[in-house]
């Protein structure tokens, strides 16, 4: 499963859904795409049926908008701070930890964290992130193909 996380109306937070949009019709048999606004609790029970999960999500600005950080979250916790700042929404690390605790975490989990630049309300993707979307879609597709044991895509 490819999960595009984010809100398209919050600037670069929309990169996950934008990548999923690019992948429409391009995912191989056996793979499916899903967009999430970030309420992972509602996805965890579905993960019981998922063998491999590729998550595309926006990450904090570190100076290179559009740069992708690949995190293999298959074993152990994600190397992200777990801050219980809000009890109302579990973040991705918490969701993976909970799924693992329930014994229904996908066998393989890869997170493609995309550095954002601007997360303004009502804004679209910033130019550098928008320009990176096609390349990120190829990376995500390659992750899917690798999980399925298939060859990398030709346009990689």
């Amino acid at each position: 499963m490819v999960l595009g996380v984010g809100n398209p109306d919050r600037g670069d937070d929309g990169v996950g859904p934008a990548v999923l949009d690019r992948l429409r019709g391009r995912l191989p048999a056996g793979a499916e795409g899903q967009v999430s606004g970030g309420d992972f609790l509602n996805l965890i029970n579905d993960w019981a049926e998922v063998e491999g999960l590729v998550v595309v999500d926006a990450a904090a600005a570190l100076g290179t908008p559009g740069r992708v950080h690949r995190i293999d979250a298959t074993s152990g916790d994600m190397p992200l701070p777990r801050q219980p700042a809000s009890s109302h929404a579990f973040g991705l690390p918490e969701a993976i930890a909970l799924a693992r605790s329930l014994g229904q975490a996908p066998g393989q989990i890869v997170v493609l964290a995309v550095e954002g630049e601007d997360f303004a309300t009502g804004a679209g993707l910033s130019p550098m992130v928008a320009a990176a979307v096609d390349g990120i879609a190829v990376k995500a597709l390659d992750e899917v193909l690798a999980l399925l044991g298939l060859e990398a895509s030709a346009d990689a």
């Binding site: 606004g37 609790l41 509602n42 965890i44 029970n45 109302h88 909970l98």
Partner: protein, 429 residues
């Protein structure tokens, strides 16, 4: 003289930012302050100058868990000001979407946030390794609630279909059918959950609360009713200011609400339950009896049982509403603004959420006041904390901290809403 300070610097498993300061002098708790330091959010100020039509979507942003409560308060207030009454299936749909909010909000709190306190786990992730089936079922329950919001409101979080006069769009009968199937599938979970939580060990604490809730002549309340209490209040929601007042407290960015004559009061599931037990369907009343809960519960730790019973109520009520649903010809009744003041008060998952708006002739907001449940409960939370800590002053600070955090979570406090939480500091002397 020995002074002791116990501090909880940041409370987990609550929404928002707050802390707790406890002072213990000569074996007595002299002070218990819930310090809310989340910055004020100024919603009421930036509603001024906006159209009545924009209000539901602006106030929805106050809370990601209970946006319906804010939307309902806003639309009822506008309709009250403009002399409009929404009835029939549109009214029923409003109850249905509220059922969704109660199910997802209570489901989240009961299992993911509160139950770990009673079982000695740090969080739901830890708890899931030993109580996996309960957690999985609770996730399905929460999802069923969110699904009602999605189908009726257009999306799960911050729904966009609610408007003064009704909805921007109403669902077809066929669109509601899958919701009913999902709700039927989780109904047993609500019953099991109630039995599960009723089996927890509860600290002994009975408080003489003044319960405040809506009371409707025919229904367990969501959107309508008079404001009543168990100590004599029985007023129209427009008369809120005659009995209640808000007070600035130096230690909180959220106003404290109080009954003018008597002080602290309690809103939320325990208040609704105590004041409206007779309006619950026989199935819910019977389950309460089965798990040993009488028609009034004064032990705040047992609020988790009441929340579970309210989940069952909301599931059954949603099923009843869906079964009786016929799509209305119009999604909303016409709204013609006029100058005036309007009031709305609805039962958010955490208790009454009171709104007052002043509109000009075009329906522009001239003034807005919103009193969310958590700010109303702050004085009661502090009173509970004092009682709880007083009974354990000789115990280790860690034990006091743990029990105090649990005490605060009894309220499912939404600090972000109220500031518009938690460090625990215990001072011993």
């Amino acid at each position: 003289m020995a002074t002791k300070t116990i501090k909880v610097e940041y409370l987990a498993r609550v929404e928002g930012e707050g802390a707790l300061d406890l002072s213990i002098a000569n074996g007595e708790v002299t002070n218990a302050q819930l310090r809310i330091f989340e910055p004020p959010r100024f919603f009421e100020a930036f509603l001024r100058g906006r159209s009545y039509a924009e209000v539901p979507d602006i106030v929805a942003r106050i809370c990601g868990i209970c946006p319906i409560a804010y939307q309902m308060g806003a639309v009822h207030a506008a309709e009250n000001a403009f002399g409009i009454k929404v009835e029939g299936q549109l009214r029923a749909l409003r109850r249905l979407i509220y059922c969704g909010e109660w199910i997802e909000s209570h489901g989240l709190h009961v299992v993911m946030l509160h139950a770990p306190d009673f079982l000695g786990f740090d969080d739901a992730i830890q708890m899931a390794s030993q109580h996996g089936e309960v957690v999985k079922k609770a996730l399905a329950l929460k999802k069923a609630g969110n699904e009602i919001l999605r189908v009726l409101g257009g999306r799960e979080i911050h729904p966009v279909s609610v408007r003064p006069g009704g909805f921007h769009r109403v669902p077809t009968k066929a669109e509601l059918a899958p919701l009913a199937e999902q709700l039927k599938a989780v109904r047993d979970t609500a019953v099991e959950l109630t039995h599960w939580v009723a089996g927890f060990d509860f600290p002994d604490l009975e408080q003489d609360y003044e319960f405040v809730a809506l009371r409707h002549e025919d229904e367990y309340p969501f959107n309508e009713g008079r404001l009543v209490s168990n100590k004599g209040i029985d007023i129209d929601i427009a008369e809120f200011d005659s009995s209640f007042e808000e007070r600035h407290m130096a230690h909180s960015t959220a106003l404290h609400a109080a009954i003018k004559a008597r002080g602290a009061y309690l809103v939320g599931p325990m208040a609704r339950y105590a004041l409206n037990f007779d309006k619950l369907p026989p199935t819910v009343q019977a389950l309460a009896q089965e798990v040993g809960l009488g028609p009034v519960c004064r032990n705040p730790f047992k609020s988790i049982i009441v929340r579970s019973l309210e989940i069952l109520f909301a599931v059954d009520e949603a099923l009843r509403l869906i079964a009786a649903y016929e799509r209305p010809a119009e999604a909303f009744v016409p709204v013609k603004p006029r100058a005036g003041v309007g009031y709305g008060c609805t039962e958010a998952p955490r208790g009454i959420c009171w709104h007052r708006y002043e509109f000009d002739a075009e329906g522009t907001v001239m003034d807005a006041r919103i009193i969310p449940p958590t700010s109303q409960n702050q004085p009661s939370i502090e009173a509970d904390l004092k009682s709880v800590a007083s009974g354990m002053v000789e115990e280790a600070d860690e034990a006091i901290k743990y029990r105090c955090e649990q005490t605060i979570r009894n309220y499912d406090p939404c600090i972000s809403c109220s500031a518009h939480f938690l460090n625990l500091n215990i001072k011993r002397s």
